[in-house]
Amino acid sequence: MEKILQVKDLELSFNTFGGEVKAIRGVNFDLYKGETLAIVGESGSGKSVTTKSIMRLLPEESAEFKNGEILFGGRDLTKLSDKEMQKIRGKDISMIFQDPMTSLNPTMPIGRQITEPILKHQKISKDEAKKVAVDLLRLVGMPKPELRMKQYPHQFSGGQRQRIVIAIALACNPQILIADEPTTALDVTIQAQILELMKDLQKKIDTSIIFITHDLGVVANVADRVAVMYGGKIVEIGTVDEIFYNPQHPYTWGLLSSMPSMDAEDAKLYAIPGTPPDLLDPPQGDAFALRSEYAMKIDMEQPPPFFKVSDTHMAATWLLHPDAPTVEPPEMVIERMKKFPGSRYYEGSAN
């Protein structure tokens, strides 16, 4: 498959009054054409910062690339000037934000907000751009699009506004769509509609999606591959099945265990103990070690390298080292692993 975006050894820091916050500490991933890659992780894990750094939307005066590159179309996005980035933003890479209630300009009719990127990136007349915008609104399922072009954001509901934001993002048929928790601010029924819409549109315009979320239920629904982030690093990456049914990193175990399940027998919901690491002074070894009951001495001393689990699946945990003792994952994870061919708990197909 064709790689459309490559993030290599990306390191990024924020210079604050308190010191240097190492928000991204060596992130590597590839994005393939037409796939949906979900990035999951708790608040402060660096998932939003990673995608914002791809778009270069972070404040220039405080955010600083320390190392690594972001390769897109043969160019390193970390090195481009702001002018060159403006030509990529909204055209080749576009973004959907978390809160549709605040991401539209309240004093501009939505028609103008949709035609703006079209007029900016394509050489077409205003009237043609308007037609494109009406078509886009129809595509995202907005009834009576012609009438609604002249209306302002406050005249739409939250779900409708997110549809408009999606229409804006898709206006120039981008190669990459970054969705930063696009359903977090919506209620559950609308969430499902928006996810359906995104899946539907992805097929129609063949774009790659980076989907940021902390909601594993959403991940299972939309993603082809999943990257789990913790403390500014990716700790595990693999296909959706590999992450859900054969997870290797203790943090992924924790995440999966803390997900409410329909068939969990004991009613108590698991919570990962402790708090995320302070990235002003990141831990030496595995950032998750302090919160992990599986931590070994080496986890406190050296950061684990990536160990390959399969061609598509990698995890950064010392537990995968040949010399590491075999540990029992949490019961809930074992239950999941029983369904995955190739895991050591596989019990054969259930039917």
Partner: protein, 311 residues
């Protein structure tokens, strides 16, 4: 919209009636008489003069006479300051210079202030920002008469670019007072726009505009500016009234025959009808500006567009 304005007009009328009533009785409570050198007149002479201006009538009669005249647009005649001249004519003739320097000062101050504020917000925490903040602080804290004197001394006397005072050379005479008047709106606009722009520039829809590929200037002017205007409009409305209707101090310093200068004198000589007339004139102006500001809100921000308006 028409219904809304109609309703507002009725309220405006009531407000004006109340202002006129209060001013009328407050003035009557004040000691002193509008009749110049009243002590030197014999009681007979005094009675003649008082009868001429209706001052011999009981207070309620005077009040209703005045209000009835007001309804017909009659502000009465000047008692001593302009010796029997029609008050409306006096105000209108004095309005010209005040309005001119006021308008020029407002325009200059607001435009420059908005510019300063925008630049400061876009270059936050650089020397440009600090420079504009210093200008704003100077504009607000140094009184206009200090500016006026400095302008007279440097630009008028030392460099001899503009006339130092008086209202004789048309536009040239209006330059220095306009600059002196511009400082306060400039400082205010710069502060308000800077604060509001910084807040707006941090909002999600600005990030989205950036994500669409909009350039820095497009973001500032197409997306942020309009959203940053609302608080400024709120303060600029009343400020425009006070400046357009004449700054007492600046008009005194530059010896401009404006409405402010005349208002001060009328109070000193107890010219009841001029005080009343000018107060009512100011009030009408202020009330109309407030209505205009309320309508402008809706024009700028569709979320506060008035019910019944075109949606």
């Amino acid at each position: 919209m028409a219904r809304y304005i109609g309703k507002r007009l009725i309220y405006m009328f009531i407000t004006l009636a109340l202002i006129a009533t209060f001013t009328f009785f407050l003035m009557k409570i004040l000691p002193g008489s509008p009749i110049a050198s009243a002590d030197k007149l014999s009681p007979e002479q005094r009675a003649v003069v008082e009868a001429r201006y209706g001052l011999d009538q009981p207070l309620p009669v005077q009040y209703f006479d005045y209000m009835f005249g007001l309804l017909q647009g009659d502000l009465g005649i000047s008692i001593n300051q302009f010796k029997g001249a029609n008050v409306t004519d006096v105000i209108l003739s004095r309005m010209g210079p005040s309005a001119q320097i006021g308008f020029q000062g407002m325009l200059l101050g607001t435009v420059l202030g908005i510019l300063f504020g925008m630049v400061a917000a876009l270059r936050q925490n650089t020397w440009v920002d600090y420079g504009s903040t210093i200008v704003a602080i100077i504009g607000i804290s140094i009184p206009s008469f200090v500016f006026a004197s400095m302008l007279q001394y440097w630009l008028g006397l030392k460099l001899d670019l503009f006339p130092v005072a008086l209202w004789k050379d048309g536009f040239m005479s209006s330059v220095l007072p306009s600059i002196a008047l511009a400082m306060f709106p400039l400082a205010t606009a710069a502060r308000f726009i800077r604060t509001e722009m910084i807040e707006v520039l941090g909002s999600d829809y600005i990030t989205l505009a950036k994500a669409k590929g909009a350039s820095g200037s497009e973001i500032a002017f197409k997306h942020a500016f309009r959203n940053a205007l609302i608080p400024l409009i709120t303060v600029l409305g009343p400020m425009a009234v006070s400046i357009l209707t004449g700054s007492l101090v600046v008009e005194q310093i530059f010896a401009i025959p404006g409405i402010g200068e005349q208002f001060v004198k009328s109070i000193m000589v107890n010219d009841f009808s001029i005080i009343m007339g000018t107060t009512i004139f100011f009030s009408v102006f202020l009330i109309v500006i407030i209505l205009v500001v309320d309508i402008l809100y809706g024009v700028i921000d569709p979320r506060i567009r008035l019910s019944g308006g075109k949606s």
